[in-house]
């Protein structure tokens, strides 16, 4: 039995990948690929695309292992983020160029900075708790955006509301969510 936690093990494997330890890469793959494949499958919703994406994801992990900073994010969250962002990049590249002009182009002062990250289990309970305080449709839209990578257009279709209504919903929901998460 190992005396370290699974998270420490994963962080250690990532660090060894940064040092070009190929056996560590294999072990990291064996431990984490099923989870990351779940991410690419759910977002891309196509098995062969997800299989291609998972390969690119692990090549990226090998190439960028040195960018993982232990302590900022849990190691498995970092790996999931690599897989999720890669899948979203694929979706985004496929979408037609949007004519959006309504994104705030200047970012004003962001106010007080968020609290330091807390424990994973606590965060899970907390985000569930805060999502439950939103109207069910809106909570569902936030989940769909995160877990499935749905665009505003897809969300508007799924919830049968106009695009701008969906944008307004989402943005207001995110503000409420933040208030709840930092309360």
């Amino acid at each position: 039995m190992s005396s370290t936690t699974p998270a420490q093990d994963i962080a250690d494997l990532i660090a060894r990948c940064a040092l070009r330890d190929r056996s560590a890469f294999r072990t990291l793959y064996e431990r984490t690929s099923a989870k990351l494949f779940g991410v690419t499958l759910r977002i891309l919703k196509d098995r062969s695309e997800a299989e291609e994406a998972i390969q690119e994801v692990y090549v990226k992990i090998w190439q960028r292992a040195d960018r993982y900073v232990a302590g900022d994010t849990s190691p498995i969250s970092w790996l999931v983020a690599v897989a999720r962002n890669h899948s979203l990049d694929i979706l985004r590249a496929r979408r037609p160029v949007s004519e959006d002009i309504d994104v705030a182009l200047e970012i004003p002062d962001s106010g007080p900075s968020p609290e330091r990250a807390t424990q994973d289990s606590q965060e899970k309970r907390q985000i569930e708790h805060c999502l439950e305080r939103l109207e069910p449709d809106r909570a569902g839209a936030v989940r769909g955006a995160y877990l499935d990578g749905y665009s505003y257009e897809e969300l508007a279709t799924r919830y049968a509301v106009p695009l701008n209504t969906m944008r307004t919903w989402l943005r207001r929901s995110l503000i409420k969510l933040r208030e709840c998460l930092t309360a």
């Binding site: 690929s33 989870k35 991410v39 390969q55 985004r92 979408r95 309504d102 907390q126 665009s151």
Partner: protein, 241 residues
């Protein structure tokens, strides 16, 4: 489209904007722009990390799914294969490890191919005709990229350069490779110009999904021996569209 009034519902809140960025809701251009703003601002980076870690609590909902076993060899070849070429420029054309890497590297082209598919006319009337596309991506920082389309009905490969410049006193030469077999030349190809290469029946029979196309830098007129002598500058694998 929209006026600014009906989206006033909070779009000026920078924290919501960062959350939209983390969720991936912003259109490509804005996503990249906001990403750069975040990189350059510690407060926004903290905000990004806040959302990333809070949403990560939902990751338990991603169902673990085993990856097909055969994929790992391709991943390893591609991840580790890159380093072989950079160590030995002279011999890497002959390296077995490189060939393994090529086959795996070819898997990276899907995204480019999907994009290309959108602008390529489809022949619905003849669904049986095989069409393949290969994005030949730059190797070793060559900065040279090509896109090749093979249309079986027309018996030709069309190739066009996407990036890169001609090199004085050198020519680019196109090759196809199947598995462990030796590379076969398809001739010298120009930069900044589309080229149609008619294929004989034997060559047509040899090109299919998974065939690797590679471009090497050769002496003017191409390799005199029929065997590639120069470095690979671009490579990609043919996939059906």
């Amino acid at each position: 489209m929209s006026t600014s009034d009906d989206i006033k519902g909070g779009h000026e809140d920078p924290n919501a904007l960062v959350a939209e960025y983390v969720l991936g809701l912003l259109p490509t251009h804005e996503h990249e722009r906001v990403g750069r703003l975040i990189e350059n601002d510690p407060a926004l980076r903290a905000e990004r990390d806040f959302w990333t870690s809070r949403f990560a609590a939902l990751n338990v909902e991603y169902a673990e799914t085993p990856v097909p076993a055969h994929l790992y060899a391709a991943i390893e070849a591609r991840a580790f294969g890159d380093r072989i070429g950079s160590k030995s420029k002279v011999s890497f054309w002959d390296s077995l490890a490189l060939w393994r890497g090529l086959a795996a590297g070819a898997l990276a082209v899907a995204v480019a191919a999907v994009g290309f598919n959108l602008v390529q006319p489809r022949f619905d009337a003849d669904q049986m005709a095989v069409q393949l596309v290969a994005a030949l991506q730059a190797q070793e920082g060559s900065g040279v990229e090509f896109l090749a389309v093979y249309d079986q009905a027309q018996g030709q490969v069309r190739i066009t350069s996407l990036k890169g410049e001609a090199i004085p006193d050198r020519d680019f030469e196109l090759w196809y490779i199947n598995g462990d077999q030796p590379a076969v030349s398809m001739g010298v190809i120009p930069v900044h110009q589309r080229l149609e290469i008619p294929l004989d029946a034997a060559t047509q029979a040899n090109i299919g999904p998974g065939t690797v196309l590679a471009v090497t830098l050769e002496q003017t007129g191409g390799s005199p021996t029929g065997v590639a002598q120069g470095p690979i500058v671009a490579v990609g694998s043919a996939i059906p569209i």
